[in-house]
């Protein structure tokens, strides 16, 4: 193993199909038109010295090191800014060029510290490399002139130009004394990340990189994505981990375990120690970009809270007892078998994790189907994107997004519904913002003014700030405008959909009950704005829809998904790059966990358990007989537990107590069970009710695959040994074998082979193919041997696209005198989901508690001021948190995040759920807000209980 070095071509690739040929240093090179001379040279392996150029940003031409001579041209043009032309004859090394380069380097070095041996970038510094490349031997100017390097001059006077190091960001430092002002960081922040947090202040020799208005990085607009650190050629912007540990010596490409974007990273290591995560340029989801979570927030993997030994206890009121793996597994197996013996085989089940690999998820559902012999398996997708599975399955025929992320580069109108990409899917948001800066139009449908509505250089053409819970009415009104104003794509509908079904649907939506003017009173969206948005989406060119949990987590979540699919079919925005319907998946492997048969009614590949042919495939492979009865969903498991018929649960990598709605109901269900097995990194909230704790492994400690929101199967590679002793798939296998299963997998690739052999959409997937291609997008079988970036190209998977009527039925969760406000929930950039990981990293400097966003008007009538403690009460329960006054939310709407267990936002949420899939209605809860002195009784009792439940008996 060695350190993976990626070639830096200096300038971005050209997409042109025209080829041109030029001669560089006597070598013929053929490149696409629009390629820079610098890149063309690098394509043949000729490295032109450079400092300000790097291929993540456009050419800038400021460092004057990459000069070349071109026959027939005067002077020495910079190769980064000069496009290659057919027949050009370029010299990159002449006496004249050497002199110029050496002179330029002398100037750079005369204002740069000479502490290379003790510098953190030693060995990874482009300035050092270039000094070597140009043959710098002497600096004629000396080091005593005006400089930015020394704190005091020779006479002890303070050097006014010196700026001290900024260490405010928890993950990287900014040392202005090492800066060569190449602007790479500024350009990366603008072009790649799209935040524009950095600038060059001053001019001439006084030019400095400045975060915000000469602020510290932490206080500036910086979102800590790491693009600037990545771009910096020196140690000016340097990861603190590299300063602490030193340069890495080997690396492996793996996949981030946070959101559904599925960014590829190089895990750069020193032995077993992770030095840093560097975004991988060949990663097809992220193309070398990252966000603060994937890039920096991996500290949880070695956090002191991590539990490394199995533990058991007889009752949840007992303290935990650390035991051997054998003892824990046989304790668990005996209990589960005893429960099944006494209460029937349906009395136990599993919850698979959207955080674990495909292979692990597959094994967990296999455990319940082949060992427990029931279909009681469910997954956290139940509480997020199950309506996507249902809605897109019904209309298009597959339960997945239709596009790859690259598709956004060809979109002309982007409709974002109930998603907050800059916080939830930051790397995709950066790509989206880039496209919007190029002129694509944006429509945002969200009750809250998310950052995308207005952020530097991006502003939404329309923001439909609807009342929470009225998605269906808004989406149907959009369809109404498209149909009644004749904006639909008749050709597409006639050829790709069922015309009769369309006519029936058109009649339904054309009813004046769905007109924007009629629903305005209900939704709060001005009719004229909604009409304009509909016209823009229908007629603005390639229209792409991206949606998130703001669509699905409603009592009519599935209906909205269907409505969205209808919009795309109406306007013919399906089946080519730049369009489509794209769910932004919350977790790294939600897509994969759904694909792998985690749902109680579906075997891997979304095939119903009552389908005998499919059961037959698995029965042959597994040598068991599979139940044809769909099993229990998570809410049903909890209901059955309270009733006493469901008594044992194996829960892998999910904290249902914190993440599922109506916390009190979840805790009652868990408390009623005889054997709760929690398999996790930490003693999470669910573990407070567990009898067996099996320590989990992180994504750094195992091999496997994650499937991201664009159906891309990415490899996860083991970079260190599991600190707990076993990867998660091994633990599941051990548990299965303790129950007599006799499984004998020795590597996850064998599990993938089994998936490929049994599941048609994965038929050609193998670790060999993934290693060769980097990644593939399912379906990957004989008809699409290397995967499918865009789906439904020539026809829908189900045949004809199906229009389904979308009647709006208001949720039963209604505001009234006691609960006059609507609470909606979401997430924030620096934290992730229930925060189990991110709360155990330095990310807490950005968000150390959940706050309640409330409109100043609502706050004033309740006597609430900024930062006050408020009590948030709903029909389900109450909690307390601090208020933040903002007009991001409309009057009548309040908003909070759910990252911190001390807030327990889900104590408030109700158990209303989607009619088709039981996906909980997190996004709408009627609440009241009132001033408060501090935590509620529930919070205090829970805190006390959880301290008690987490006791671990001292070893004897």
């Amino acid at each position: 193993m060695s350190l993976i070095k990626e070639t830096d071509y200096g300038t971005p690739a050209s997409a042109s199909e025209n080829k041109i040929t030029l001669s560089i240093d006597g070598f013929e090179v053929t490149v696409p038109e629009g390629t820079s001379v610098m890149r063309a040279a690098m394509e043949t392996g000729i490295q032109i010295p450079k400092l300000c150029a790097t291929d993540m940003v456009d050419a800038f031409g400021s460092c004057r090191l990459c000069l070349v001579e071109i026959e027939g041209r005067r002077g020495t043009p910079s190769s980064c800014t000069t496009p290659a032309e057919d027949g050009m004859v370029v010299q990159t090394q002449t006496g004249r060029l050497k002199d110029i380069r050496r002179g330029v380097m002398e100037l750079y070095i005369s204002d740069h510290p000479l502490d290379c041996l003790t510098c953190a970038a030693n060995g990874d510094c482009e300035l050092q490399d270039m000094a070597g490349a140009v043959g710098l031997r002497d600096v004629r100017y000396g080091y005593d002139g005006g400089n930015h390097v020394k704190q005091r001059d020779g006479g002890g006077e303070v050097n006014a130009r010196f700026m001290s190091k900024d260490e405010s960001n928890p993950y990287f430092t900014y040392d202005p004394s090492k800066c060569i002002v190449c602007s790479r960081c500024v350009r990366a922040c603008e072009e790649v990340q799209g935040t524009f947090a950095l600038t060059i202040e001053g001019r001439g020799f006084g030019s400095r990189v400045s975060a915000g208005m000469h602020e510290s990085f932490l206080n500036s607009e910086c979102v800590s994505c790491g693009a600037c650190v990545q771009a910096c050629p020196t140690a000016t912007l340097q990861e603190k981990s590299v300063i602490d540990i030193g340069q890495p010596e080997h690396s492996l490409v793996t996949t981030c375990a946070y959101c559904g974007v599925g960014c590829s990273f190089k895990a750069e290591m020193r032995g077993q120690e992770l030095v840093r995560m560097v975004p991988y340029k060949d990663g097809k989801a992220n193309h070398g970009h990252s966000c603060v979570k994937g890039r920096f927030a991996y500290g949880y993997a070695s956090h002191k809270d991590r539990i490394l030994n199995p533990m058991i206890r007889d009752k949840i009121t007992d303290p935990w007892k650390e035991v051997s793996w054998e003892e824990a597994l046989s304790f668990a197996a005996n209990r589960l078998r005893a429960i099944q013996y006494e209460h029937g085989k349906e009395s136990i089940g599993v919850i698979t994790s959207s955080r674990c690999t495909n292979e692990e998820t597959y094994l967990v559902q296999k455990l319940t189907r082949a060992v427990f012999l029931n279909n009681n398996t469910d997954t956290c997708a139940r509480v997020c994107h199950s309506p996507t599975g249902y809605g897109l399955g019904q209309t298009f025929g597959t339960s997945a997004g239709t596009q790859d992320f690259d598709s956004v580069e060809q979109a002309d109108v982007v409709l974002v519904i109930g998603a907050n990409p800059t916080d939830g899917h930051p790397v995709f948001a950066s790509r989206l913002k880039k496209r919007l800066r190029q002129g694509a139009k944006l429509i945002v449908v969200d009750p809250r003014r998310i950052d995308l509505v207005r952020t530097p250089h991006v502003s939404a053409a329309h923001h439909l700030a609807l009342r929470p819970g009225t998605n269906v009415a808004v989406v149907t009104a959009l369809a109404h405008v498209i149909v009644t104003e004749g904006l639909f794509d008749e050709d597409f509908i006639r050829t790709r959909c069922d015309w009769d079904e369309f006519q029936e649907y058109a009649e339904f939506v054309a009813d004046s009950a769905h007109a924007p003017e009629t629903v305005e009173a209900l939704t709060g969206v001005p009719a004229a704005e909604l009409r304009a948005a509909a016209r823009l989406y229908a007629r603005g060119g390639n229209g792409a829809i991206y949606y998130g949990l703001g669509v699905t987590e409603h009592s009519q979540g599935s209906t909205t998904v269907i409505g969205i699919a209808n919009l795309a079919m109406l306007t013919g925005n399906i089946g080519r790059p730049g369009v489509g319907v794209n769910p932004l998946r919350g977790q790294n492997n939600v897509q994969g966990s759904c694909d792998m048969g985690s749902f109680p009614h579906e075997l891997p590949g979304y095939r119903h358990v009552n389908n005998a042919d499919v059961r037959d495939v698995f029965e042959k492979a597994w040598g068991v007989s599979i139940s044809d009865e769909p099993g229990l969903r998570i809410p049903n498991m909890l209901d059955a537990a309270v009733e006493g018929t469901f008594r044992g649960l194996y829960c892998q990598g999910e904290d249902i107590l914190q993440s599922d709605p109506d916390t009190k109901h979840v805790s009652a269900g868990l408390a009623a069970m005889d054997c709760v097995i929690v398999h996790d990194l930490f003693l999470n909230e669910t573990a407070n009710y567990a009898h067996v704790f099996l320590p989990g492994s992180t994504f750094l400690e195992k091999d496997g695959t994650f499937t991201n929101a664009e159906r891309r199967i990415n490899r996860v590679r083991k970079v260190m040994a599991p600190k707990n002793g076993y990867a998660d798939w091994e633990v599941t296998q051990l548990l299965a074998n303790a129950m007599g299963a006799g499984w004998s997998y020795t590597h996850p690739s064998q599990i993938m082979d089994e998936i490929a052999a049994t599941t048609p959409s994965f038929a050609n997937v193998s670790y060999r193919l993934l290693d060769e291609k980097g990644s593939v997008q399912w379906p990957c079988n004989d008809s699409t041997p290397v995967g499918s970036p865009v789906m439904h190209v020539d026809g829908f998977v189900r045949g004809k696209g199906r229009f389904i009527r979308t009647d709006y039925i208001a949720t039963d969760e209604k505001t009234g005198p006691r609960f006059p406000l609507l609470l909606t929930t979401g997430r924030i950039l620096s934290q992730y989901n229930v925060g189990a990981q991110t709360r155990r990293t330095e990310n807490v400097v950005w968000h150390d508690e959940d706050v309640l966003e409330i409109h100043p008007h609502d706050a004033e009538t309740r006597g609430v001021k900024e930062g006050d403690w408020v009590k948030l009460a709903s029909r389900s329960g109450e909690t307390s948190l601090k208020a933040s006054l903002t007009d991001r939310v409309s009057p009548g709407v309040v908003y909070t995040t759910f990252h911190h267990p001390s807030t327990q936002a889900n104590v408030i949420t109700t158990d209303y759920s989607d009619w088709a899939t039981n996906c909980p209605e997190y996004k709408v809860t009627a609440v009241q807000v009132s001033p408060s002195n501090g935590p509620t009784d529930w919070q205090e009792q829970y805190e006390e209980f959880s301290v008690r439940a987490r006791r671990i008996e001292a070893a004897e």
Binding site: F196, T199, S210, M213, S220, R454, P456, V458, S459
Partner: protein, 159 residues
């Protein structure tokens, strides 16, 4: 010109100035000029408002403002004297001339006399090389200066 303007006032008046320029192409510089006219400088609070109005980041507005020496962070004195320190003026005694007036006023470059009367600024070429040494006083050019002429200009200026 007021010396102390409350921050809310800065924000409101800057917003009004920015609104007047929103339909101009490349409105940032005209806005900065008008803000400086209004307050005698470009206060930090104004930059935040401008960034918000133009949908730019704070960093971008700061980058532009700090690029131009003539946009001030703090108000200047009642008069501004700019002395050329570029090569042509240096070659005919500009440095000595500048040093003299600096001593006479008792302030350094970019500083204002304690009574708030004069601010001294260096400038790198006024385009008057043929009439060096040169200076600019309250926007008016003066060439072929010597000690006496320069102090005459400075002393004659009203309070």
């Amino acid at each position: 010109m007021e010396l102390q303007v409350p921050e809310a006032d800065v924000a409101n008046r800057t917003a009004a100035i920015a609104d007047g320029h929103l339909n101009v192409e490349g409105p940032l510089l005209p806005i900065l000029h008008d803000v400086q006219k209004e307050f005698g400088c470009v206060p930090e609070a104004a930059l935040r408002v401008i960034a918000d109005k133009l949908n730019l980041s704070r960093a971008e507005v700061h980058g532009v403002m700090s690029f131009y020496h003539d946009f001030r962070q703090e108000p200047a004195g009642r008069h501004v004297l700019k002395i050329c320190r570029a090569e042509a003026c240096q070659s005919v005694g500009g440095e000595v001339l500048a040093e003299g007036v600096r001593k006479a006023l008792g302030i350094g470059w970019h500083e204002t006399t304690p009574d708030g009367r004069i601010t001294l600024e260096p400038v790198y070429c006024l385009g008057l090389c043929s009439c060096a040494p040169a200076a600019m006083f309250d926007g008016e050019l003066h060439g072929r200066l010597d000690d006496a002429a320069l102090s005459g200009i400075v002393m004659e200026a009203g309070r």
